[in-house]
């Protein structure tokens, strides 16, 4: 029995070879002289759920569009199942599920009619899953989509995107118009899909608390570049918030700390709050050097995000 911790990079839990299901290689996309994506490289194997995070205009939607072949790369590649977005054929599209930021349905058709229309294209349509999701979302399929609330439309879009048992799922801000119980239902649906079909899932969102609760990997874009591509676990283990107080024999704190692993700092004479990265082993030496005591606390994703998107903000 292997005692190795973590995920074996060559196979996933069911021994699927980790084909790079969702991937990009040196992907660049420029609009005029504005670079929307600049040298983006990553790979998502099946069984992983990735949170795509970044500020407005960081390139998240452009990336998701390039993967589907809706935006032509200026350079590099964006691939699904190893096939470039622009070359995706029926075979690959049948294995893909997509939820767009804003879903459009034909307004005079009912939810039921839309689902029946969609399923007619997919021999693998899972009617039991459809029923489970419609129940979980409390979706009224007799309503015409034109009269549905934005939340209901979004729910319909999610059901439409996952009942053909896709192996790759892209979701662009799927939860923006959902209330908290529906967001819960969305994320538990994604976990159910992970257990049943083990797809690769990429979900973009600004709701970092939801993302933190739900994903196991973080891909963070800032100004079109990848600033973080890492397991959430490992980020949580490396980052910490330190509450730093001077020891009783030390009159005050230094006015600045120069340690390279400090990512942000608020310093007052009698106490400081630091965000540190990978500093566990340096703590004792830090305490001795500055005559301080350190209380280390876990750091939430929303706080890490500030560090990544302000260029370190020191």
């Amino acid at each position: 029995m292997s005692t190795k911790i973590g995920t074996d990079p060559s196979t996933n839990s069911r021994g699927h070879a980790t084909e790079q299901t969702i991937a990009a290689e040196h992907l660049a996309k420029t609009y005029g002289d504005r670079a929307a994506l600049d040298g983006v490289t990553f790979a998502v194997p099946r069984g992983r759920i990735v949170g795509l995070v970044g500020r407005n205009g960081s390139g998240k939607t452009t990336l998701l569009r390039a993967l589907q072949g809706l935006a032509a790369p200026t350079a590099g590649r964006a691939t699904l199942f190893g096939v470039d977005g622009l070359a995706l054929g029926e075979a690959e599209l049948a294995r893909l599920g997509v939820v767009h930021q804003e879903s459009r349905f034909i307004p005079w058709m009912t939810g039921r009619a839309h689902l029946d229309f969609t399923r007619s294209f997919y021999p693998r349509w899972d009617a039991a899953r459809e029923q489970r999701l419609v129940d979980a979302f409390e979706l009224d399929l007799t309503q015409r989509t034109g009269t549905m609330s934005p939340g209901a439309v979004q729910k319909l879009a999610i059901v439409t995107a996952v009942c053909h048992r896709p192996e790759a799922i892209l979701l662009d801000e799927p939860a923006a118009s959902l209330d908290p119980p529906s967001r819960e239902a969305l994320y538990s649906t994604l976990f159910e899909l992970l257990r049943e079909d083990e797809p690769a899932i990429m979900i973009s969102s600004h709701q970092l608390d939801d993302i933190e609760r739900s994903v196991d990997w973080i891909l963070c874009l800032e100004k079109g570049r990848v600033v973080r591509d890492e397991a959430l676990d490992s980020l949580q283990e490396r980052y910490a918030r330190w509450r730093v107080l001077p020891t009783s024999d030390a009159p005050a704190l230094p006015t600045e700390f120069r340690e390279g692993w400090i990512r942000s700092a608020v310093i007052e004479p009698r106490g400081a709050l630091l965000v540190v990265e990978g500093a566990d082993d340096a703590r004792e030496a830090f305490e001795a050097r500055h005559s301080v005591t350190v209380d280390a606390q876990p750091l939430r994703l929303s706080e890490m995000f500030k560090v990544w998107t302000n260029g370190g903000a020191r």
């Binding site: 759920i49 976990f191 992970l194 257990r195 196991d216 949580q236 876990p298 939430r300």
Partner: protein
């Protein structure tokens, strides 16, 4: 098996699972030979990726808290009687001390930051031990 997760605590979920299983083994809630739910079942119950559960189980197996016997479900290591049973009790004691130490560490840091001398802190701990439910 009772596991509850704090999903926005900043503590990795696999660590939370490990800590709670260790605690329950140390406290005798999970006895030697108890079968542990499959990664799929626990993943479903907690609403998390089964791979996260695998990661926790792998770590506990490596620590000798859990054991996988060929053809059987993952279970709490040790046996109900014989030499394995006394080894299990030793393991339980070791785990109990380790868990308590982990839980005391934040209190120790607070004592230092508050400037409470070690002697007084120990007296306080003794008092709390005698009546853990009483507010000061």
């Amino acid at each position: 098996m009772l596991i509850t997760l704090e999903r926005n605590s900043g503590v990795p979920v696999f660590r939370q699972i490990c800590e709670q299983i260790r605690f329950q083994v140390a406290a005798g809630v999970l006895r030697a030979g108890t079968e542990i739910p499959s990664t799929r079942d626990l993943g479903e119950r907690l609403g998390i990726n089964p791979m996260t559960v695998s990661k926790a189980y792998a770590l506990l197996e490596q620590e000798g808290v859990l054991e996988r016997r060929p053809g059987l479900a993952l279970m709490v290591r040790g046996a109900a009687n014989g030499r394995a049973a006394s080894a299990h009790r030793e393991k339980q004691d070791e785990l109990a001390q380790r868990e308590l130490e982990r839980l005391l560490r934040p209190a120790a840091i607070a004592a230092r930051q508050l400037g409470v001398p070690a002697k007084d802190a120990i007296e306080l701990f003794k008092r709390v031990l005698r009546a853990p439910g009483d507010e000061a």
